[in-house]
Symmetry: C2
Subunit: 317 residues, 2 copies
């Protein structure tokens, strides 16, 4: 008999899922569109059919639980609370899953799931205090502190995307000003590109970027080719990122920041200047001590591995 | 037999100590100058003599341990590390205490000790996620998260005084810019008064303040008398404080901030405008949920109660 856990990572556009062994081996996985305008029950039926077919064809696999990560997933209540880009309002995903699957089910938010993946199967195995930062459309974060996920009072801790780095800064869709994700994420880089295009209307590289559909790989290539304005774009982004990281480090006393998702693929093009700037924003007792790393987990797998690990670590399995 | 724990709160100017029962009842306490220019051994001898005399005269009291809080006290190593305003460098206070007292000894930093006092004997009894902020010469903070003190990787977590609220802000003695304590603490209020005196040279109240020896009670009285410039001084301070609190709340998802020490005595004169400003800096999911409170513990006692509680909670005593 092969014990497996279903790890689910619900995203604004796609949902990925996998049957994971305790070792982290994924025996089966898939991806389907989330279709956030439809009821969440439809999403559950669509991946239940896939998982159910696989399990019927592989009777040696026994499902021992489900771990799910979702935007605004509340670990304490089992509710997905008014997730951005999904028209669900508050949904009791744990109860909805229970109608299809008769096993233990645990929910957390998507960024915490990614952090759990890194802790249990990635480069954070020996770390107790780190933040996993996901650079996508926005900026998500999951915090490990004292060897545990930091949930806070209402399970919504770790909103580093909405850490404000400038009291009078860029206006965020959340209503606040200066939120880190308005500088460091697809949204933030778009804003910076628009600003830079205005200041440097004759710059070939900046002119070649279409703010609404910037491809990170274009920026990477320009940096590799030594294009000054591309290098400046990431130096500005890295400076804002580093200033934000320093504030989290000052409060939490961390070992590392680990980057995952879209723009983290830039690697040292973005993380190199971030490391340099971070040192200038840290107190003496933290200088030289905090690593800025790129996740080694394959794209799309941190969330399902981490969500699955919620079950593996919940009892003696 | 009456079991007691010696709680010690080492400060830059004075050291307070007390013999504390598990209930929080302080059976004996005292205060001596720290004399930070002398070796730390002299300080230990001076309070050891007082405690020893008391215990000899009260054979019914049995000393079951020592908890100590000190600036830059490292819970993991037992070292006080280069404390500000004390010329000790790094001192192994736990070993030094062991030469005089043969019992269990636990160290933490002064702000954590105050937070432990509030958690075990104050208004935070039923709270799992809060920050205790001490407003003195500087701004200290101890963080409870998930019902535990948050120590971080090197036991130095919780440095909210050095959370930067302005990338280009006031220069701090730590070398960074915009540190919260440069706006909210005796040091910070001094800077604000100097700035306001320059802008409003004819203001009677501001002119009456001597920046190097500002008495918080003078500001309190002026606010009670409706003096506009005094009200503005605390509104500015409250705005900076609230912006800083919001960043910590965003990362940690808290129930409350609890204020203790010197300027916290201003009570609602400072905390009232802080509450109002805080709401403007919080994300929707935190708005209306985070309390801003004044500690109810008597001045000077949070540290010794909290330090003592390190022993009471360390085993089955």
């Amino acid at each position: 008999m092969k014990l497996v856990v279903l790890g689910i990572d619900i995203g604004g556009t796609n949902t990925v899922y996998g049957l994971v062994e305790k070792s982290g081996n994924i025996v089966f996985r898939g991806q389907i569109p989330t279709f956030g305008h439809e009821p969440v029950e439809n999403l559950v039926i669509r991946f239940w059919e896939k998982v159910d077919s696989f399990l019927e064809a592989h009777p040696e696999c026994e499902l021992s639980g489900i771990g799910a990560g979702a935007p605004n997933g509340n670990h304490f209540t089992g509710l997905i609370q008014n997730p951005p880009n999904l028209s669900w309002g508050d949904v009791d995903i744990v109860s909805i899953l229970k109608e299809k699957f008769s096993c233990e089910i645990i929910l957390t938010n998507d960024a915490n799931a990614a952090a759990l993946g890194e802790k249990n199967y990635g480069i954070a195995k020996d770390m107790s205090d780190f933040i996993m930062i996901t650079l996508g459309t926005g900026l998500g974060s999951g915090i490990f502190s004292g060897d545990n996920i930091l949930y806070g009072h209402d399970s919504m801790a770790g909103e580093m995307g909405h850490l404000s780095i400038d009291q009078n800064g860029r206006k965020c869709s959340c209503g606040l000003r200066g939120c880190l994700e308005m500088y460091v994420s697809a949204k933030g880089i778009k804003e910076t590109v628009i600003e830079l295009q205005k200041v440097n209307p004759g710059d070939d590289f900046l002119s070649s970027l279409e703010p609404d559909s910037i491809d990170g790989k274009m920026i990477d290539r320009a940096i590799d080719d030594g294009v000054e304005s591309a290098i400046s774009l990431y130096e500005f982004t890295a400076d804002k990122l580093a200033y934000g990281l320093a504030q989290a480090a000052t409060i939490l006393s961390l070992e590392a920041f680990i980057f995952y998702g879209g723009y983290s693929q830039a690697g040292d093009r973005l993380l190199g200047p971030t490391r340099i700037a971070l040192e200038t924003y840290l107190m003496d007792n933290l200088k030289g001590k905090i690593k800025v790393l790129q996740s080694g987990l394959p794209p799309g797998q941190a969330g399902i591995l981490g969500a699955a690990s919620l079950i593996w670590s919940s009892d003696r399995k």
